[in-house]
């Protein structure tokens, strides 16, 4: 069909679609349970054709339809004055002021990365970037949260190397900086790693787009790569347990082409700016099926789609294969009939294949045509409204027992310095420089705080004084031991990290990585974690504007199912009113006064110290007073925004001693502090215990009193610990053997910098 005309669709005479009927067994292979199959029949008034069963199966999969999580997700707060776009579109958008908005979203690509790490991770980046520019925003930062197994095994090294290459290969080539994230290691992720990618995009308010088809008569335009058999059934694949046989699913993993995506990105943004599109949508999971169905549903319209016109990479593809393909770098645009020709010309200038493949209809059906033959006919609404399940959850008694473990009798170590070196070398804490060196974190010339320099990434907005900060956080061990508390702590940590650079938190995107929801113990974790996230997001005034759910992160090993530690990754975005007023974590000046501020007492339950030194995964995560934690966030952000503080660091994994060591190593200067014994009942807790609302700041002597006053004014604790300076790490505690820690910076540095570099060594 030539450009400029709307695809011809045969006259709408009621008739039955032609094709092979799918029985209950075939439907089950598409992921439809017997009861769901019966519901499909009720919606259609007949048995589904194979293509229809495949489309219902894909859209009703957990990945697309959230059938196990939707009732829980409704509990999350989603509104606030700063929210320009809440859940339900390609990405959420928050207002950052001066007419600017930030579109942001996080998604998982866990299963593809488990079987093909390079392409699995690369296409994770590609997919989330498309969600961002579909909103009319120019992607300007990527962060990623990764989990792997034991960092010394051959499998982990293979996966880590591949995932990092995949992220680097895609992000560097398309020219969007990778600016932050987190990486954790635990044996539970050995077979089922987590790859969560978050992207941020910048837009003017008036550029905000919707993934809608708009009015009847509009044209559906296909643009980008051709459709192949790659990624067939990806949504269903992502919604089942991994097993030995999963390697045979490698064809369900797609291959990324960042070059094509760069063209798509530029072309789509130009078309949006020129006012040539009504709606934009990425073809992600379940490809054409989900993109077109969602766009139609948002507009409350039907569509007629000419399957035979879809550009193909291979011969002999059936309508089912075309509709379920997850080939990458494809978009659907909708345009008014009078603008189609101009739109196609613009897209072709960018050397993209683009053509009209269907049109928006007066009816409310999703109709598929091959020429004049109707080959599928489904009502739009039920396709998009997967049945939901509320299940019974119950806590695993083993987890309850681990949480109740009595830590009071735990022996005290005999060398605090040796403990600090072990913690600095812990792969979760150790420097990730060997990873982020491989990411272009400066392209686009907006990156103000680069990876490793601060608690969160900071980007400037060209032409504005404002800055944008972003972080991803989750302590999987906390969530495993206490799902509700652990999820709340993840959100609180993210907010604290933003505050530590001087940003006011605005909104959250979450990626809920859990095991099989039909297992009551897993469902319990999910239920509880969502509740914890809800409580924290309410307290922090950070609505959840979107995200994704990745269930079935469970490996079917011979000795029984092995579930991951539940990991609700919290991606949070904040704004700096003046990007010149920001804080890094490295100590800047000799003689700066180091102050501890916040609330609560550090404790060793669920800590990295307990795991690394005592081999225990037990106890309760840090006690959380949400009101005090939120007060610390506000106070810390204000200290930086008022220009009082330019050096700050959250106290997180590894506690006070690790936080001080990181500030010293980053700044290239030592520190000499005395930790007050009243901080915690045991010296190991004071030095290595973790907390929900503590942070460190370093300020010149002349400003210390102002900071103390400001912190005390909001009824938070403030302790003068000591000073920055010298070549050594001196962290003294009256009760510790030999009076505490006394190490050269060089020893600390070699512990901190070797673990990940060695894991990546070839």
């Amino acid at each position: 069909m030539s450009g400029g005309t709307v695809a011809s669709v045969p006259a709408l005479v009621p008739r039955l679609p032609v094709g092979v009927v799918a029985g209950p067994e075939q439907a089950e292979r598409f992921g439809l349970a017997p009861e769901e199959y019966r519901q499909v029949i009720a919606h259609l008034g007949r048995e589904p054709l194979a293509v229809e069963a495949g489309m219902f199966g894909a859209l009703w999969s957990e990945h697309c339809g959230y059938k196990n999580s939707r009732p829980l997700l409704r509990r999350l707060p989603t509104t606030g004055p700063q929210v320009l776009q809440g859940p339900g579109e390609n990405a959420g958008v928050v207002d950052v002021g001066d007419g600017w908005g930030v579109a942001f979203k996080m998604e998982s690509h866990n299963h593809p990365s488990a079987v093909e790490p390079v392409q699995g991770a690369a296409t994770g980046v590609g997919g989330i970037l498309r969600d961002i520019f579909a909103m009319g925003a120019r992607p300007f930062a990527v962060l990623d949260a990764l989990r792997f197994g034991d960092h010394t095994t051959a499998r982990t090294r293979y996966l880590l190397d591949g995932v990092v290459r995949g992220i680097a290969g895609y992000g560097n080539a398309i020219g969007v900086p990778t600016v932050g994230g987190e990486i954790g290691f635990h044996a539970c992720f050995e077979q089922n790693p987590l790859v969560n990618v978050m992207a941020l995009g910048l837009l003017r308010h008036e550029q905000l787009q919707s993934g809608t088809v708009g009015e009847a008569g509009n044209a559906l335009v296909y643009v980008g790569s051709r459709t192949g058999r790659d990624g067939l059934g990806g949504a269903v694949f992502a919604s089942a347990d991994l097993s030995e046989a999963s390697a045979a699913d490698r064809p369900a993993v797609q291959v990324g082409d960042p070059f094509m995506e760069k063209l798509l990105l530029e072309a789509c943004l130009e078309a949006i700016e020129a006012g040539l599109v009504v709606g934009v949508q990425d073809m992600g999971a379940a490809g054409l099926t989900s993109s077109v169905a969602e766009m139609a549903h948002r507009a409350g319209r039907g569509v007629d789609l000419r399957v035979d016109l879809i550009p193909r990479r291979e011969h002999g593809m059936t309508p089912l294969e075309v509709m379920l393909s997850e080939s990458q770098e494809r978009m659907v645009l909708t345009a008014r009939p009078d603008q189609v020709a101009a739109l196609l010309a613009l897209l072709r200038h960018w050397e993209l294949e683009a053509l009209v493949v269907g049109q928006v209809a007066e009816h409310d059906r999703f109709r598929l045509w091959e020429g004049e033959t109707l080959v599928g006919d489904m009502p739009v609404a039920p396709l998009n409204e997967a049945p939901t399940y509320v299940r019974e959850g119950r806590e695993d008694p083993a987890v309850r027992a681990a949480r109740a473990y009595d830590l009071r009798a735990l022996p005290l170590p005999d060398d605090a310095g040796a403990v600090l070196l072990r913690l600095l070398a812990d792969p979760g804490i150790a420097s990730k420089e060997a990873v982020y060196r491989q990411y272009d974190h400066q392209v686009m010339t907006n990156t103000v705080l680069v990876p490793g320099a601060a608690d969160a990434a900071v980007l400037r907005i060209k032409g504005s004084r404002r800055g944008v900060a972003a972080t991803i956080d989750c302590n999987s061990r906390y969530v495993y031991l206490a799902p509700r508390l652990g999820a709340a702590l993840a959100a609180v940590e993210a907010a604290r990290n933003l505050a530590a650079v001087g940003a006011t938190p605005l909104g959250v995107t979450d990626c809920l990585n859990f095991g099989n929801p039909t297992v009551p113990e897993t469902y319990y974790q999910l239920q509880e974690a969502v509740e914890g996230l809800r409580e924290a997001c309410l307290a922090l005034s950070t609505p959840v504007t979107g995200g994704n759910v990745s269930l079935y992160n469970q490996y079917r090993a011979e000795e029984g199912p092995q579930a991951i530690h539940p990991t609700p990754s919290v991606g949070m975005v904040g704004v700096l009113p003046d990007v010149e007023r920001r804080a890094g974590m490295g100590l800047r000046r000799e003689g700066d006064v180091v102050l501890l501020i916040g609330a609560g007492e550090p404790a060793i339950g669920a800590s990295s110290y307990l795991w690394e030194v005592h081999g225990l995964e037990a106890g309760t995560p840090p006690a959380l007073d949400l009101e005090a934690a939120a007060r610390l966030v506000n106070c810390l952000a204000r200290l930086v925004q008022d220009g009082l503080v330019d050096t700050a660091h959250d106290v997180g994994e590894g506690g006070l001693a690790v936080a001080l060591a990181e500030m010293a190593l980053l700044g290239g200067r030592g520190v000499d502090v005395e930790v007050p014994p009243r901080l915690a009942p045991r010296w190991d807790a004071a030095l290595f215990g973790e907390a929900a609302a503590l942070a460190l700041v370093a300020v010149p002597e002349g400003r210390a009193a102002d900071v103390e006053r400001a912190v005390a004014a909001v009824s938070l604790r403030v302790e003068r610990l000591g000073r920055a300076g010298g070549e050594d790490l001196r962290i003294r505690h009256r009760d510790a053997p030999a009076g505490g820690i006394d190490l050269t910076l060089e020893r600390a540095r070699s512990a901190f910098e070797s673990t990940i570099a060695e894991a990546l060594a070839t």
Binding site: N172, A173, G175, M260, Q438, Q442, T445
Partner: protein, 231 residues
């Protein structure tokens, strides 16, 4: 006011940054020239920006070197016009034969993004704003940045003073660990025989504003504007 042409290939990704560098940071005129153009128009200098032209699926820069716009760039350079290739732009200029040598995969076989120090080794129109021997802090971000050439070429480059930038340590001395990619002779940037075509791996356009960590690249951008104004 001089006009700087910023070439744009499919897959260029430092094109916007480069235009921003000239137009927003320095208030010069900068325009994009699409790779299919056969004429540059009325421009006074050319920048070939970084990125992954054509996806770099063949050899970095190999396809871009054969695009229509490069014919116009060759003619412009023959007339003595100033051409600066940055990162992928350097790769394109070597592939196009405007500069000798080639950029091979980094010694570590991984992409490298970090700040490096380079020393100004020669006075050229591009480095006229720096003192000889001045040490600059500039970011690199590349997978293929290892400058290689045969012995004779290296000897000529050195003998004719055409090695313009060399990787050094923070103290300004040459040291193996200061070289991020294994470049021969620690070469970070060179010029052609006339000294009017330059290629460099570091990104001066990323080092113009203190907010982004370094403003040591300002001299390079300013010097190109000076040269263009005199053209």
């Amino acid at each position: 006011m001089p006009t700087i042409a910023v070439l744009r290939f499919p897959g260029s990704n430092c094109d916007d940054d480069t235009r921003h560098a000239f137009a927003a940071v320095f208030d010069a005129r900068a325009c994009f020239v699409w790779h299919t153009e056969r004429e540059l128009g009325a421009v006074d200098a050319v920048v070939v920006p970084g990125g992954f032209s054509y996806g770099d699926y063949l050899r970095s820069g190999a396809l871009a070197a054969h695009s229509p716009v490069m014919g116009a760039v060759r003619a412009f350079a023959r007339r003595g016009g100033a051409v600066l290739g940055i990162c992928n732009g350097f790769q394109i200029l070597t592939e196009a034969g405007l500069l000798p040598g080639a950029l091979a995969q980094n010694e570590g076989l991984r992409f490298v993004c970090r700040d490096v120090f380079v020393r100004v080794e020669a006075t050229t129109p591009f480095t006229a704003r720096y003192r000889p021997g001045e040490r600059l802090r500039l970011p690199v971000a590349h997978h293929e940045g290892r400058f290689v050439a045969d012995e004779a070429t290296l000897e000529r480059l050195e003998g004719e003073g055409r090695v313009v930038l060399r990787y050094v340590a923070a103290d300004g001395e040459r040291r193996p660990d200061a070289n991020p990619n294994g470049s021969l002779h620690d070469i970070a940037g060179i010029v052609d025989e006339r000294g009017t075509v330059m290629g460099m791996m570091p990104h001066p356009e990323r080092a113009l504003e203190p907010l982004l960590g370094s403003s040591d690249g300002r001299g390079l951008v300013q010097a190109l504007i000076d040269t263009a104004a005199a053209a």
